[in-house]
Amino acid sequence: MTPSAKAVRSASSKGRKPLKPNALSLRIPEPKARPGEMLDFGDLHLSEAGAARRPPIDAEPSEIRDLAYDLIRVLDDRGRSVGPWAPGLDAETLRRGLRFMMLTRAYDERMYRAQRQGKTSFYMKCTGEEAVAVAQAMVLDREDMCFPTYRQQGLLIARGYPLVEMMSQVLSNENDPLKGRQLPVLYSSREYGLFSISGNLGTQFIQAVGWAMASAFKHDVKIAAAWIGDGSTAEGDFHHALTFASVYRAPAILSVVNNQWAISSFHGIAGDPETSFASRAIGYGLPALRVDGNDFLAVHAATRWAVDRARANLGATLIEHVTYRAEGHSTSDDPSQYRPAGEAAGWPLGDPIKRLSRHLSEIGEWSDERHAALEKELLEMVRAAGREAESHGTLGAGSRASVSTMFEDVFKEAPWHLREQRQQLGV
């Protein structure tokens, strides 16, 4: 527990006067590797695939604290599904999951390029994290409400939300369901059970708990699911969510997507690198699962456990998905400035698409040919959708919602001052 060498060096540097005996010093956590340094994932606590135990869904949280530190993994290195968490999904379901993940990635590629081509202002990919949103969407009922961050586009894709609508939001064009009001990727679809994504981090986590409380209040059967990034767990709303969820036993699935980075800050800035994000739940008396977020089967199984528990009126579960943000934070970011170039490639938990594809092949339900064909099909699909979306306009070119809509929906009906302002603008 001594401060890192670097910290000490720099603490005593800058020609300060000699330290008092037993002088204190400030510990500033640093990632194991910075650009130009050797990769090092030493602080990542891994378990063997199949090793973690699977308790009954009505287990007391106090009996399963170990699962907040273990890592639930189903797919082993050879692509076999092993251990008590193996969900036993049929090949059809697995192929659907693979398809959604690959479609999500193809969609990201397309929109990333659209931004680079100046067709919109901003974009955010979820490359490497596709399993989280896709597998969870497949476990949730269509009626359950999702409160995501900007990095769960896989939810909409897995729920079959039209690509053209998604793209139109990103392009802020005339077909944008949000009328050009929101930054790209801050989707919203009541119809598809996706709550309006906020630009302010963390707020959705407690809102999801409120939605879940409302469902319980009405003796409904629907549950809520929320996502938050590792970095954002530091916001007060994360604490609020766990507190309210535990006090009122809200039927909610609370996921921390630990992709190791928060823009340029590594996970150790959001919490002591020695512990896990899943373990935050322990102090609230909530059950927690730490899961291999790049293992589609593990995410599916852990989510299934939490969903069944919530539906049985046993309340919320916190799930930490251990994954990796393989690309930049957003189109405004350049990760080569703050982390080693090879980190994504060296990530010990691999790539979720490759791993599920390998598993399907392993069980004789998939092949490189089929994979290549599917890739091609999806690329075509995205291309076609892209062309159609762009025909509705792009940011700053072609059509968009009429300017007068800018003054609508501030209130249900526009009061005098907004009518006046609209007239001033002459629209």
Binding site: L178, R181, E191, V209, G210, M213, A214, D237, T243, F411
Partner: protein, 335 residues
């Protein structure tokens, strides 16, 4: 009814009429709230219709957003307006903008009740008047009643309104129409016509001011406790003032204000909040923009000093009748 009883009655009526209405906040459940506004509601309507929450204002507003998205109409109490700041992000970034950013897919039809204002020796953190921190935020309605009748009618309107409403309750007049003369005994609401409040459902529309006293010489704009202070000052000066109780401070009833100032040619604005960037500044700007050619004197602002609310100086801080009278005379004398 006094104001607490009127507020309680409004919530009681709405719990009865609408199964989607629920109430929560710190100490509002079994106990009935530190000001007793929710007394008896849990017992009558059930544990989950009116319950206590953890001490986390940001948390309870966040919960209300999710409930609103589900389809409920939460009525939340923030124990004192001074404690609403931990919820400021949820209110500004979420509650106020949800309808807009989701293009109308989602909204947060909540009512946030909170006691505000001074005059009770509550010191810096039980006396604040933060209304201007909400009028600046697009998407919020801000309501401040000044008597029991309006309190009930406006609260019911607020609960039924599909937009979020910040409902500020002038705690100093919960029990009687305090007029700023702290050295005189407080007259009870029972002696005031506005204490005659129907037991059943009725509404007072949002967005409409009320002319409490019509006059020819000067217009006074006020709300909450200050309405009663102004009436006292007007009496004492004998100035023929038109006194307007704004009731809804945003969107404000600009028509009533403009008509009055164009008639009188003079205007005094009164609030308890600190002067700088207070809501009085917006009122002043609106009036001079719309009544410039009718104004015969500078618009006067009477407000709290630009300091925290100091415990031992309650009455030096509180903008009482003397300061209002002084401003009235000044505005009348100006040529």
């Amino acid at each position: 009814m006094n104001m607490i009883q009127a507020l309680n009655s409004a919530m009681d009526v709405m719990l009865e009429r609408d199964p989607n209405v629920l109430i929560f906040g710190e100490d509002v459940g079994f106990f009935g709230g530190v000001f007793r506004a929710t007394e008896g509601l849990q017992k009558k309507h059930g544990l989950e219709r009116c319950f206590d929450t953890p001490i986390a204002e940001g948390g309870l507003i966040g919960v209300a957003v999710g409930m609103g998205a589900y389809g409920l109409r939460p009525v939340v109490e923030i124990q004192f307006a001074d404690y609403i700041y931990p919820a400021y992000d949820q209110i500004v970034s979420e509650v106020a903008r949800l309808r807009y950013r989701s293009a109308g897919q989602f909204n947060a039809p909540m009512t946030v009740r909170t006691p505000y204002g001074g005059g009770i020796f509550g010191g810096q953190t039980h006396s604040q008047s933060p209304e201007a921190l909400f009028t600046h935020v697009a998407g919020l309605k801000v309501v401040i009643p000044s008597n029991p009748y309006d309190a009930k009618g406006l609260l019911i309107s607020a609960i039924e309104d599909d937009d979020p409403v910040i409902f500020l309750e002038p705690k100093r007049i919960y029990n009687g129409p305090f007029n700023g003369h702290h050295d005189q005994p407080l007259t009870a609401w029972s002696k005031h016509p506005a204490s005659d409040v129907p037991k059943d459902y009725f509404t007072v529309p949002l967005g409409e001011a009320r002319i409490l006293r019509s006059g020819e010489d000067i217009t006074v704009l006020a709300y909450g406790t200050m309405v009663h202070v102004v009436l006292a000052a007007v009496d004492e000066t004998g100035i023929d003032a038109e006194v307007i109780d704004l009731r809804t401070i945003w969107p404000v009833d600009v028509g009533a204000i403009t008509a009055s100032v164009r008639k009188t040619g003079r205007c005094v604005i009164v609030h308890e909040a600190t002067r700088t960037s207070g809501f009085g500044a917006e009122l002043c700007a609106l009036v001079q923009e719309r009544c410039f050619y009718h104004l015969q004197a500078p618009i006067e602002r009477v407000a709290g000093w630009d300091t925290p609310y100091p415990h031992a100086f309650e009455w030096e801080y509180f903008p009482g009748p003397a300061r209002v009278a002084q401003a009235l005379r000044k505005a009348m004398e100006a040529q």
